[in-house]
Symmetry: C2
Subunit: 201 residues, 2 copies
Amino acid sequence: MKGRILRDARKIFGEYGFHGTTTRMIAQKVGIDISTLYYHWGEKGDLYEAVVQDIFEDLRSKLVEVEKLIHGKPLSDRLKIALDIMTDYLFDNPEISNLTLFRYFAKTRSESVLEVKVPETMGNIAYSMGLVKDRKSVPVDAKIKMLALMNSIHNFISGESFFKILLDVDHEDYVKMVKETLAFIMVPAFGQGMKDIKTSE
Amino acid sequence: MKGRILRDARKIFGEYGFHGTTTRMIAQKVGIDISTLYYHWGEKGDLYEAVVQDIFEDLRSKLVEVEKLIHGKPLSDRLKIALDIMTDYLFDNPEISNLTLFRYFAKTRSESVLEVKVPETMGNIAYSMGLVKDRKSVPVDAKIKMLALMNSIHNFISGESFFKILLDVDHEDYVKMVKETLAFIMVPAFGQGMKDIKTSE
DNA sequence: AGGTGCTTCCATCAAGCGTTGGAGACTTTG
DNA sequence: CAAAGTCTCCAACGCTTGATGGAAGCACCT
């Protein structure tokens, strides 16, 4: 039950954000009384924290999976494959993108432990992309590039409902266009700008 | 007074989003009673619509200004200048980025007339970037590229408070890094991928 | 059968929300 | 000077919110 609540809370929080979500909405989605929800998770903020923690872990383990998959391949292949897999994964779990962006852009009320772990993750992505040689000491300019990369994907996932109407395409075409656009932008940038580092491998 | 309310409402809505903002917060910021606010603007949703409309017009007129400035210049210069000016402008008016992203990513409750005007704007950007030759008939793949471009900027503006801590830099360095990163990613992409169109000018 | 611990629901609370009515104050008009 | 109009605030409304206390159900052990 505790897990079921967490799973449904993810979706609701992801759609409406922290303020836009009410505990009653979550309880209704699960099909239980609100007091049952409070029994298992305590206050709303605690549940939210747990949800954020949860999606963060999911995202991180997915990134590890991708890293193993692309290891050893040439740079532009690595990037294309990673983009492809991550895009598919996030389209299947849009709450991850939604909540990540919510966390970035909406006013934070209480600083959590999570914020320390995000840079670490960005460093890991930079490493598996071959942008840096040492996982431990990642320069800020590499981190901010990975941030831009990740956010571009998140944007397209979270904005789907809006952008789909705007571009007047269906889901299938939208997914295809997103992948093409991401490749169009990212491959030249990271392919070219990184050649100096690449040759030293 | 009506204008003063609009100006302050922009900031509050931009920081906390629609649900995160209360009419009392806005009134307090302006320094008036809530009923005065209601006297001038009616219900919260109407004020919010007005705010969104307002920032949209601001953004559009700024884009027109940029278009005039870069007209006739070679492509990579156009892009660099446009990025530079828009980044500075949005750092000065972060509510524009905040509200734009909020509108894209948070659940919409009532479809507005605005949504029809956004694709038109994206088409105009694509035109002034030299991506398309005809302002009237802009293909979807050009629009989605402009969307990606604009969103990348918005992301860095809206996420500043979060990313600044994450990267452990101050405002000045952050702005510098953002500009470098945007140029790093966008210039190769649009410089290379667009050469075929460029030559036909 | 009775007790114990865990889980669920009903009823309810105080606080905060969006919103409104009405009474004053100040300016403009006759 | 009075009347009309414009603006502002105080007080309050009904409703939704996050949150809780207590009773009922259920499985398990003795």
